[in-house]
Subunit: 472 residues, 2 copies
């Protein structure tokens, strides 16, 4: 990268916050996809004014600029696939305000999700969105990628809690969207346009979040089923009984085989599906809800039911869910995990489709996820060093996405599109819809400097000559 550009960056954020060291470039080159793309420079921002100045500089020099939180995304949203400036926002990590009267929090984008949750819970409040990454992922990343989590079925996802944003636009201006009220219909809903836009339309520098009162109590139970259909029918029966649990997690047979022996809860030999059901709310309702749930799911081949009587027992149940991901590599060394979603009632059909795909291509597919909202985490477990396996995985993925869309579902429930799913976008969206989206992107970021190459297939390099100073 040209020295002049580096000097300008140093003038904005201070020399100590600009690094071209190989070690820094490597540590900011990857995310959870395990792919690597080296940026030319890593810049640490500490204020909105700095972000604005860096974006203006990137515009002048036609340099790609990649906003980055914890880099824990699953679809490549933060990868510098065209080089450029990685703009690290983790040092903008202040919780600016928790307003108990109005049930609002205002935060900088670098705040770790679980840190905010702990702070608000100390005040008897509740920030429900709970992506699995919450102990390290940042709220800025959660908002940019539209993160979800198990509690969606009752409480919704990140997008349902964002009331307002401060954003640096692709031209480097600072704008404010939404506000501090639940109601606001003043012009276009830019707030929600930014949520899930993966840093391609602006860089989020401040977030106003809606909070709820913390539920008074919760009850957790783990139910073992003889068949996946039984578990799926149980899910439908619960919702049909007008009970919306906080979480309705499922594990399929292949997943159960991975955790047998390492789970703290004993699993029956003939158990082919597990549901983890949690309800929360007023204490006097929960016991009745648990009884009602047990009554409506009773016909569906239950092998064992465990109801947590204490927090420690609830923890034991959740341990079963948490050990799933680390246990999968027992099957094969390489995991290709995808995040699809289908209407809740279509989960059994989707699982059957996945079993057929697994059989046809002779690859193990392990499924678990959020049965309550139809969000299935599909894990294709292979040894990618085997000849032809990369191509097989590609075909398997495409068939999985096609099956989800055929059931009126979606190719991404809570992980975004990024680079990983860009080539599948047109499986779900028709060309006119994609054109509508691209028209918005092109109008707002005519130089295509903000996170280029994400979401849309064949997104062009930012200029025929390539960005200034490339390659480093």
């Amino acid at each position: 990268m040209e020295k002049k550009v580096l000097a300008e960056l140093a003038a904005i954020v201070g020399a100590e916050n600009v690094s071209t060291a190989t070690s820094d470039r490597i540590t900011h080159s990857y995310d959870a996809t395990q792919q690597r793309f080296l940026p030319q420079v890593v810049v640490y921002a500490h204020s909105t004014a700095e972000v604005s100045a860096v974006v203006q500089l990137a515009n002048r020099h036609r340099l790609p600029i990649l906003p980055r939180g914890a880099g824990s995304g699953f679809t490549g949203g933060s990868l510098p696939i065209k080089g450029g400036i990685v703009l690290v926002l983790t040092r903008m990590d202040k919780i600016i305000e928790i307003d108990s009267d109005n049930l609002i929090a205002e935060v900088e984008p670098g705040v770790v999700t679980a840190d905010l949750q702990r702070e608000v819970e100390r005040l008897g409040l509740f920030y429900p969105p709970d992506p699995a990454s919450k102990e390290f992922s940042t709220l800025g990343g959660n908002v940019a990628e539209g993160a979800g989590g198990p509690r969606c079925v009752k409480y919704g996802v990140t997008k349902d809690y964002v009331l307002g944003l401060e954003v640096v636009t692709p031209s480097g201006e600072v704008i404010r969207t939404g506000g501090r009220t639940l109601k606001n219909v003043v012009g276009y809903d830019l707030t929600r346009l930014f949520v899930g836009s993966e840093g391609t339309l602006g860089i989020i520098t401040r977030i106003i979040l809606k909070l709820l009162p913390k539920p008074a109590a919760k009850k957790t139970m783990l139910v073992q089923f003889a068949t996946i259909d039984g578990a799926a029918q149980a899910v439908s029966a619960i919702i049909g009984a007008k009970i919306i649990p906080t979480t309705l997690e499922f594990l399929d047979a292949a997943t159960i085989d991975c955790i047998r022996g390492v789970s703290r809860v004993a699993i029956a030999g003939n158990c082919r599906a597990i549901l983890i059901i949690e309800v929360d709310g007023d204490a006097e309702v929960l016991d009745r809800q648990v009884r009602e749930i047990l009554a409506v799911i009773e016909p569906f081949g239950i092998l064992d039911t465990r109801i947590a009587a204490t927090d420690a027992e609830s923890e034991e149940i959740w341990q079963v869910r948490r050990i799933v991901s680390p246990s999968l590599r027992k099957v094969n060394p390489d995991k290709f995990n995808e995040d699809i979603v289908v209407p809740r009632s279509k989960v059994p059909e989707m699982i059957r489709a996945l079993e057929k795909i697994a059989a046809r291509y002779q690859v193990p597919i392990v499924n678990f996820g959020h049965a309550g909202d139809g969000n299935i985490h599909v894990n294709v477990m292979v040894d990618i060093r085997q000849p032809g396996m990369a191509e097989t995985v590609d075909k398997v993925m495409e068939e999985i996405f096609q099956a989800a869309v055929a059931l009126r579902g979606s190719i991404s429930g809570e992980h975004g599109i990024g680079t990983a799913k860009a080539k599948y976008l047109d499986l779900e969206l028709d060309p006119a819809t994609i054109t509508y989206m691209r028209t918005i992107k092109a109008a707002l970021d005519p130089n295509n400097i903000l996170n280029p190459g994400k979401i849309f297939r064949g997104d062009q390099p930012i200029s025929p000559a390539g960005p200034a100073g490339l390659p480093a």
Copy 2:
């Protein structure tokens, strides 16, 4: 309008669905703002294909096109201020599907909101958004204007229930956004971009809505206070006690003076504020919640409390709220009502600001609304025939909006911007934010045919020569 254009329209929708009759043009010339602008032609659409073809025609001829539901909007969103084609969507009024398994409804835009509510409630389901106009306003209009209602404090507003849309774009293409799942992060959230965009970015032809299970029971109470501050402190105390009622409606002293003698509930002579509080949920919780509410609000100067024991008594309480609007004209013949919102805890400050404005300009201001979400319906009651009164009302309105924004509130909570508030947009939004919005509009609707002149001040006529065939 040119005969050729009329013939083309007749070829699309049938001659019986195209009218240039004065009577039809007049009945489609106004909304609840009482302003009138004659369209050149009224067209009744029956299908998405027809809407698409009419938009393409409007594009070819550079004619303004005004999607219209019930025409009950409060800010001029459906007014044909630049003439053109009023496209009536009330005949696209089918409830296409109510899917109890997945808690989803799919409807055409012309379905009346309360009709859907009754249909889903027959199945034990619940569509919470409840604008006051729900017995006649359409879901398409609710979505386009971002309608709200009293239940927002607990259940949110229209935007929180829209999962997906079918939309005809400004170029006449049909796109689908979102879908039938709670989770979906595939590209930009166009669904929410359309919600509240007032028909300026596309015409909604189909809507997928989220439903909830119907709450088992509800309890309604009406509490009379000696002061508005007492009522406001009571609201804060309820939320502070972690109770989120379904509705928390307030009436100020000036409102109470209007309904004295006509309300079925006897109002104490020294009553200066009323709260109508409703809680819903599981029956076993409600009695305790009512007791808790009564305990926490007790210190704040209560004159009388009535708790409905039956549905009929609950009706009696809601009658008090419903007679407010028709009773206001006792004060003065002309009502200028605005819809502002402030953070919940700022309601007393806002009421005091309104009292000062009323005193300074010597005009009665009557306030009621949704205390739970800070949404205040401000009614400036005047006799507009008095000399200088129109200018006074203008100044009063501007001061009201400034006061709301100064308290970090908004100039529109649930009525949109339309034509009525366009000139106040920059009180709330900074120029860069407005530019960002206008960039989107200009890119997607370069000919500015879709509902021109709305939201943004000084929106230009669609072409220097004016639309084809103007003036009629």
